[in-house]
Amino acid sequence: MTAGGPSRYKRRTPQRERNHSLDIVLQLILNGLAVGCIYGLVALGFVLIYKATELVNFAQGDLLMLGAFVCYMFVVWYGVGYWVAFALAIAAVGLFGAALDATVLRRVIGQPQFAVVMLTIGLGAMFRSAASMTWGSEIYTLPTPFSARTSRVGGVSVSHEYVSIIVGTVLLCAILYAFFTYTRVGVAMQAASQNQLAAYYMGIPVKRMFSLIWAISAGVAAIAGVLLAPVSLIDINLGFIGLKAFAAAVLGGFGSIPGALVGGLTIGLIELGAGAYLPHGFKDVAAYVVLLAVLAVRPQGMFGTIGRKKV
């Protein structure tokens, strides 16, 4: 895909060639942003839960997979319209997240972080197993209103699927920002995540807040899953995108919401850029190389705030 390679258009002038390569770069940036948005959304889910409960949820990617599958099930099996199925998938996975918190994860608050990591890895394996039993291990495509449609803007062909991801992410971030800043429940959640005990004293139902945060986080994962479904196909291993999203969250600094989004976009852009311009094999690892390099310089990530305890 490199620009200016041996081309059939020998009579093209240098000026047009530069335009052509610019188009490719723009195309790459657009796709990279879209992929990065997905990473950012999943990372946002991690960070929301981590900020509130200090639990590291390795099953976030599998919640994304569940969201995609539930939406697929409603659209293809039951013939529900896309938007209704979208809403149903968010609601179902959100409820599932809240139930998960109420039954399992509430018990491990305060235990070592490692135990929680292992617990959620185990839960993720169970979700994958359950999904393969319910929906089978085949690969599915989700028909959406955006599928296989492109517009040309200038020389760039813009795929509607990618635009839907970017628009969806921007909208979702705006909604979440408004929710956490302006609503009573949102402010209560911030309080609960800043100081659990003080929030209890102020009469905030902290346990319910945590369940709600899990619901929101699972819902965000479901949205990411449904948005991702037309670009990538749906199968039970869709959840492994969570690993890259983890890299994104850590790159941005675990515990920082803007950091999660910036980290996701960075990783998305790096990945697409490496796929286009570096030799074969770099696409999958470039993100991790950058992650290690950033962590070697800034061990707390780009926007992280881990301080040292003063005694």
Partner: protein, 380 residues
């Protein structure tokens, strides 16, 4: 309950608490020696248990004793395996030298990971090791001259000092010997000042540092030691699988190693071995259950008539033959252990032992967990 009355410091230096404990371990060794006669068909699986035991030992030193959780230990196993095969088959070095060099290579890799990891804590370290493992796996794919790339690489049977270890029994005894060596070395390292420094770092970095423990040096040492053990395990693993391919050393294998350590019981060498037995034997047990469970349930339901027996047989068979059942069972067991027995199999074993040794006086409160509140890890 037995109390040991200590009369000299020599008793503290001994490897075992008293004669009774020593005799139990001698009995265990005897059991291992006659095992090839008892289960000749499963000997290959038992060898895998021993290799996993060595791997569990390695991760236990790092995660259980030093408190550094690594999600990249499959990469160390891979480095050890590929290095060993390269040194023996491509360079033609003697087996013992090759294993030593493989351990050294892996230890160097461990230090390389350990150095940037010094300043990281908790989830940052876990993700950094994960990233490292994924990069290493890609290197296994790309570096075809050494690793054979995606085509893979066949591994010969080991030949040590001119003696070929070509049969399963011989290889089994080799694994027993190496695991015993690893256990002996690790036990002794852990009760030396080095081991105590590791435990101190695990329990509180700040306290350890205030007491004069050099965090950087000891963390790097823990990484190097753990990686070297993993390298030796990798050399044996290469001979066990007989064919190396990059996708063996995936994240899932790293997760399996962590599962081993957690299910066995964090912070005990017994736990590493229990976990290895569990993780290596569970797939065997599941595949056995797949064949026998429908028959048993069918026979049980057959009491109520032939139709019921057949229906139950088919139903259970459909359930257990589901694809993807195995990882789900692994996940379920992991979840149950963390929720109900955070000390793992070794913790359960301790409770059982204390129950019997203090029989009428056992009280559950001995092991009651304190109520834990959220402890922030944002400050360290």
């Amino acid at each position: 309950m037995r109390f040991v009355f200590k009369t000299s410091y020599v008793q503290d230096l001994g490897l075992f608490r008293d004669e009774v404990q020593r005799n139990w371990y001698v009995a265990l060794l005897g059991g291992l020696l006659v095992l090839p006669l008892l289960v000749p068909t499963y000997l290959v699986d038992v060898s895998l248990v021993l290799i996993y035991g060595l791997a569990g030992l390695s991760l236990m030193v790092l995660a259980g004793y030093t408190g550094l959780v690594s999600l990249g230990h499959a990469a160390f196993l891979g480095i050890g395996a590929y290095a060993h095969v390269y040194f023996t088959q491509n360079l033609g070095l003697p087996w013992v030298v090759a294993v030593g060099l493989a351990a050294a290579t892996t230890a160097v890799a461990g230090v390389l990971v350990g150095l940037p990891a010094l300043r990281m804590t908790g989830v940052y370290l876990t993700i950094a090791t994960l990233a490292f493992a994924l990069i290493i796996q890609e290197i296994f794919v790309q570096w075809e001259r050494v690793t054979g790339g995606l085509k893979g690489k066949a591994v010969d049977r080991p030949v040590i000092f001119g003696v070929p270890f070509s049969t399963d029994v011989a290889f089994y005894f080799l694994c027993v010997a190496v695991l015993m060596g690893g256990l002996w070395l690790t036990t002794n390292v852990l009760r030396s000042p080095t081991g105590r420094a590791w435990v101190a770092i695990r329990d509180s970095e700040i306290a350890a540092q205030s007491l004069g423990v050099n965090l950087a040096a000891y963390k790097t040492l823990a990484f190097a030691y753990s990686a070297a053990l993993m390298g030796i395990a990798g050399a044996l693993f290469a001979h066990k699988v007989g064919f190396l391919a990059p996708d063996i050393f995936s994240v899932l294998l790293s997760i399996q190693f962590l599962l081993m350590v957690v299910v066995g019981g964090l912070g005990s060498l017994h736990g590493a071995i229990f976990g290895a037995v569990f993780v290596a034997m569970l797939p065997v047990a599941i595949s056995q259950a797949r064949d026998s469970l429908p028959v048993w349930f069918g026979a049980a339901a057959g009491v109520f008539g032939k139709g019921a027996g057949d229906a139950v047989y088919l139903g259970v068979e459909r359930l257990v033959k589901q694809p993807g059942l195995e990882p789900g069972i692994f996940g379920l067991i992991l979840v149950l252990f963390i929720l109900f027995e955070p000390l793992g199999i070794y913790g359960r074993w301790l409770k059982l032992r204390i129950f019997f040794s203090t029989f009428p006086l056992y009280k559950r409160a001995t092991f009651k967990r304190q109520k834990a509140y959220m402890r922030s890890e944002r400050l360290r």
